[in-house]
């Protein structure tokens, strides 16, 4: 079956996709350099003795000193993406290396990193290297100034999904009615110049909470509509720069600001490209039109559309998987990740593990500092899958020391969004008897409002 509906045969200028590619590549390149320069490779991936794996990905581990090479490859491929140098290979390499890095330790999970992985996966299927790129400067026959309309629209779709789901996730009583967790975070920013004093007022917190939710929900429409686009973009810049000032969220705001440029019409992007041409003194090629592509290209197109359709189905469905789990999502965090739930909760915990040697009945507590970095310990103490994995690691560790018949219990207390700390995990449950799965973890104590 040929995909020949009128939508999929529509074409448009490739300029927006090209600008997107350049901006994305450069930002990722800078991100990697920044990560490296801050010493985070060493701190997060070399120093720890133990790494928390994602379920099913425990074969992905940091590579010792070769981890630096991994980051080097990742950074270089990002630069290649920006330049459009061997674009397809570059973006595949980037996707694989970046995703590998993210899978090495779930301690560092951030929605932003997930966004980068997802976006780079999407870019693999888009002809972003076929215009204004190193490849096309070398071989002008590769250059197309027109590409299918859907190539641009899928990026817009992904951005809309991110914003809308982030907005939907904020529609809960904690965020809207309690003003949590902003009520915890914002008042401590009162030392900031100019705007700091505002955070001393309660109404300001609610303005931020409601404003933030509203922003996420309407920004896709403001950007999609030609008439409101300019205003929408100003909002994007304002909102993300504000979050950059208020929270330690690294490069993400800039990524979102540049990503939003994709909504502008192609004339804007073409002007930017023309300007770059002049600035870089590159001779301009008239790109080929895409209309008369041979059949196999259309077949490939069909496959791509099929894959991306599946991809978007997953993107749309995945955030709702939490409905399959009992109890409070913020408390259990079952179905929490990969769902654009950004800045929704303040959670703190403390976990003390008790190792009981069943043969001698001796017991002792674990000094978490011996095995985990403070960052890992902080993340571990509030997330059941971390607690379980760590307990299994401890079991293995002490087994190797000759204690083969162990039971492991945890005394764990968690405070969520300003509530008083309460016991989190059933202290009678032997964690060595628990196994990771997609099923609900019955040993998480129920959330008490």
């Amino acid at each position: 079956m040929l995909i020949n509906s009128s939508y999929f045969s529509k074409t448009t200028s490739s300029a927006p996709l090209v600008i997107f590619r350049v901006a994305f590549g450069l930002l990722m390149f800078i991100s990697i350099i920044r990560f490296w320069a801050l010493g985070w490779i060493d701190k997060l991936y070399i120093q720890p003795h133990f790494f928390f794996s994602y379920y099913g990905f425990d074969w992905i581990k940091p590579l010792g000193d070769l981890t630096y090479l991994l980051f080097f490859v990742c950074g270089l491929s990002a630069l290649f993406v920006a330049l459009g140098l061997k674009y397809t290979w570059a973006i595949i390499t980037f996707f694989l290396s970046f995703t590998y890095i993210e899978l090495m330790d779930k301690t560092t999970y951030l929605n932003h990193y997930y966004f980068v992985s997802v976006l780079s996966f999407l870019l693999i299927f888009l002809p972003a290297g076929n215009y204004f790129s190193w490849d096309t400067f070398k071989n002008s026959r590769l250059s197309f100034s027109q590409i299918p309309q859907w190539n641009i629209d899928v990026i817009k779709l992904l951005l809309c999904i991110v914003y809308l789901y982030a907005g939907l996730a904020k529609l809960n009583s904690e965020w809207l009615l309690q003003g949590m967790p902003l009520k915890i975070w914002l008042p401590t920013k009162d030392y900031l110049p100019m705007i700091g004093f505002l955070f001393r007022y309660d109404w300001m917190i609610y303005l931020f909470a409601w404003g933030g939710a509203l922003y996420d929900l309407i920004i896709p429409f403001l950007l999609l509509n030609r008439k409101t686009r300019a205003f929408g973009f100003i909002m994007v810049v304002f909102f993300h720069l504000l979050t950059a000032i208020l929270f330690p969220i690294g490069m993400f705001p800039y990524l979102m600001i540049f990503s939003a440029l994709i909504f502008f019409n192609y004339q804007f992007h073409q002007k930017v490209i023309d300007g770059l041409y002049r600035m870089l003194r590159i001779k301009k090629y008239k790109g080929h039109q895409i209309q008369n592509v041979p059949l196999q290209y259309r077949l490939l197109n069909k496959v791509k559309i099929g894959i991306l359709a599946l991809f978007f189905l997953i993107q749309i469905g995945l955030p709702f998987r939490y409905l399959l789990y009992p109890d409070n999502l913020f408390w259990t965090e079952e179905g929490y990740r990969w769902s654009w739930r950004v800045m929704l909760m303040e959670k703190a915990g403390n976990a003390q593990f008790k190792i009981v040697d069943n043969s001698s009945r001796n017991w002792f507590y674990v000094n978490n500092e011996d095995f985990l970095t403070s960052f890992q310990e902080k993340q571990m103490a509030t997330q059941p899958d971390f607690i379980l994995q760590y307990a299994h690691f401890l079991n293995e560790h002490f087994s190797q020391q000759g204690m083969t018949d162990l039971s492991i219990f945890v005394d764990c207390f968690v405070a969520l969004n300003g509530r008083k700390s309460t016991r989190y995990i059933d202290p009678k449950f032997d964690l060595t008897k628990g196994y990771e799965s997609f099923a609900h973890k019955s040993w998480i104590l129920p959330f008490n409002e």
Binding site: D274, A348, K378, D411
Partner: protein, 407 residues
């Protein structure tokens, strides 16, 4: 034409701004790093002790009505708690130095008893400053040179007899400080006469005397350096850094405070001797093990100091100023309240009650009835949760500030 250029300019300006912003933010982050990494990973085997000697004041009502500012809190900490505590410690060090000199000149029983008393006085006052591992104290790792225990008694004796030693070496941290003095004053023999004999011995007496004065001098000079730095410059710097960012004084001090409570008070003084981190109890890991009967007193001093700091109680006085309690009250005044300050103070109260059940020699307590020690540990642990989980969440302070991006 002009339009095109303008677009390009906007693009590059935006990109430039992005770069600039992301980089300048990094700078901040970087700064934090140095100041926050705990240099003090002396693990659980080697624990420093701590301090104290203020009057036993319980949770005073901290200045109701006074508006909370971080600056006021820092000023109270510096002027009314930290600096006076260090002043008292240096005073005690003067006396200790004097007593040590007197004893080495005339090693008789009277001078020996005076020296032992000076040691105990200074040791108790140490408990009031041990948690202030910030500024110069942090830089010179004061705690690691003043109160690491258990002592490597054998290593120390070898060092002492060899005579050629460098006390500034990291390898000598467990051969000096209060625990070394403890051994030199209480551990060499079973009676005063037996111990004094080491100092009057024809062959090695001089070496013992020299080593004794050397380690007292070192403790004296290290604590004096820290006090001088507070008075000369660090006080102002400490108070000026009154923001809430991870690099600032409040954040560092609170982290240091909790770290001290968790690692040195809860684990070092109680948990490790009770064997909560090992397969069996370790009664020889108590603080001042050679003297024995003061380990509980040192623990109580340390506990009172920790509670006083929480409540902002001025050193060795009844009055209180702005501190964590006041800050908590300030924050809880505007929202639903968990009364975290009462939770913590009540828990301190329960710990004190529990301590009444313990032998004044914690080592003996471990040997005789370790269950009570284990219970004490659990009481202490409860406040780790109240402070580290509940309090830090309210104050929006990150535990052991982690330098990484968030969501």
């Amino acid at each position: 034409m002009k339009n095109n250029l303008l677009t390009l300019c906007c693009f590059t300006a935006l990109f430039g701004a992005a770069l600039f912003l992301s980089c300048s933010e990094d700078d901040n982050v970087k700064l934090d790093e140095g100041s926050q990494i705990d240099q003090n990973d002396s693990t659980d085997d080697q624990i420093d002790g701590d301090t104290s000697d203020s009057v036993d004041t319980t949770a005073n009502e901290a200045v109701v009505g006074e508006a909370f500012t971080r600056g006021a809190m820092l000023t109270n900490w510096a002027d009314n708690i930290i600096i006076p505590s260090f002043e008292a410690l240096v005073d005690n060090m003067d006396s200790l130095s004097f007593a040590a000199n007197k004893f080495t000149e005339t090693p008789n029983q009277e001078n020996f008893i005076n020296l032992k008393q000076s040691w105990l006085n200074a040791y108790l006052t140490w408990q009031t400053v041990a948690m202030f591992d910030i500024g110069k104290a942090e830089e010179i790792t004061l705690r690691n040179f003043i109160n690491v225990y258990p002592l490597d008694a054998q290593g120390m004796t070898t060092t002492l007899l060899a005579g050629d030693y460098d006390l500034t070496s990291v390898n000598r941290q467990d051969e000096q400080g209060f625990s070394a003095l403890d051994y030199l004053l209480h551990g060499l023999g079973n009676s005063d006469e037996e111990i004094i004999a080491f100092y009057t011995d024809d062959t090695n007496g001089l070496k013992y005397k020299t080593f004794l004065t050397d380690i007292v001098d070192r403790m004296h000079s290290l604590t004096s350096i820290v006090l001088a730095d507070w008075k000369e410059s660090y006080r102002d710097e400490f108070i000026e850094r009154d923001g809430n960012a991870a690099t600032e004084s409040v954040n560092s001090m609170v982290n240091d405070y909790i770290y001290y409570y968790e690692k040195f008070l809860r684990a070092g003084k109680v948990g490790i001797p009770a064997g909560v981190f090992s397969n069996s109890s370790l009664s020889d890991r108590v603080e001042a093990r050679y003297r024995g009967d003061v380990s509980k007193e040192l623990l109580i001093k340390s506990l009172i100091s920790a509670q006083d700091f929480f409540n902002g109680v001025h050193f060795s006085q009844e009055d209180a100023g702005m501190s964590l309690k006041g800050w908590i009250n300030h924050l809880e005044a505007s929202g639903e309240t968990n009364n975290i300050d009462s939770l913590i103070n009540n828990q301190f109260g329960l710990i004190h009650l529990q301590l009444e059940n313990l032998n004044s020699d914690l080592g003996q307590q471990v040997e005789a009835d370790n269950i009570k020690m284990l219970e004490t540990y659990d009481f202490l642990q409860k406040n780790v949760i109240f402070m580290k989980v509940d309090m830090l969440q309210l104050l929006d302070i990150t535990v052991d500030y982690v330098d990484a991006d968030g969501d």
